[in-house]
Amino acid sequence: MNTKRRSFIKSSAAAGAFGVAVSAGLITPRAVMAAWPKAAFAATDVDTAINNAFGSSATTESSDIALKAPEIAENGAVVPITVTSKIAGTESISLLISKNPTPLTATFKMGKGAEGFVSTRVKMSTTSDLVVVVKANGKLYSAKKEVKVTIGGCGG
């Protein structure tokens, strides 16, 4: 009887500790937000954006990055993009749209177990090159594709 009570108290104490961990987890997004790379997102050309994000703008073109995007996007407000990186040890995938007011669109950082694959939808102001930068093993690789836009997605 008593041992059961003991274990009950123990497990409830553990649950309490778990609760603390969860609330600590809830606080982290704010801490992470401070790390949002403002300089990189505010940059107005591709090279500056890559430089601000990675500390270097030297990239190697790689055929191991598959970039799936429409040749012609009728609506620039919704352009579906899929990136698959076959480079081993892909750490992050960044999307840049060269003629947008601020080219850097998104950086996806792969955690443990994540594959080099990401799919999303972006806004494009005009016909422009889509640049993907993949960071793997401390090196930067890139791939490019032009997307023609009929109606821009940045104005009202």
Binding site: M33, F41, V79, T102, T105, A106, S119
Partner: protein, 104 residues
């Protein structure tokens, strides 16, 4: 905020495919309100985090060029049926939301 995230995660062999839809205005801050002529202030998601069993599997920094009501899909290894996947976002106004989903 009401639940703004819809997540579906499915195990296929080794990999788990996650698909998510978030409802968010994603204002760029470069659009004008046609009636008043004033700029609509920027309001967009900056951070998206997705974790499985306490491990961050994806951490995304977003800019203003992600479309309205963003769609996101990615894959990762090492999950089982019935595991819990947690996804959360924070925008530039400090608003946030998170959701948990069972992996199917």
């Amino acid at each position: 905020m009401a639940k703004s995230i819809k997540v579906r995660a499915k195990v296929k062999g080794e990999t788990t495919v996650v698909k998510a839809l978030i409802s968010h205005a994603m204002e760029t801050g470069q659009r004008k309100n046609k009636k008043t002529g004033k700029m609509i202030p920027a309001h967009f998601i900056q951070e998206v985090t997705c974790s499985h069993n306490g491990n961050d599997v994806l951490n995304a920094d977003w800019g203003t060029a992600i479309s309205k009501n963003p769609y996101l899909s990615f894959k990762f290894n090492g999950a089982k049926k019935g595991d819990t996947l947690k996804m959360s976002w924070v925008d530039n106004k400090g608003e946030s939301d998170s959701v948990e989903a069972k992996i199917k």
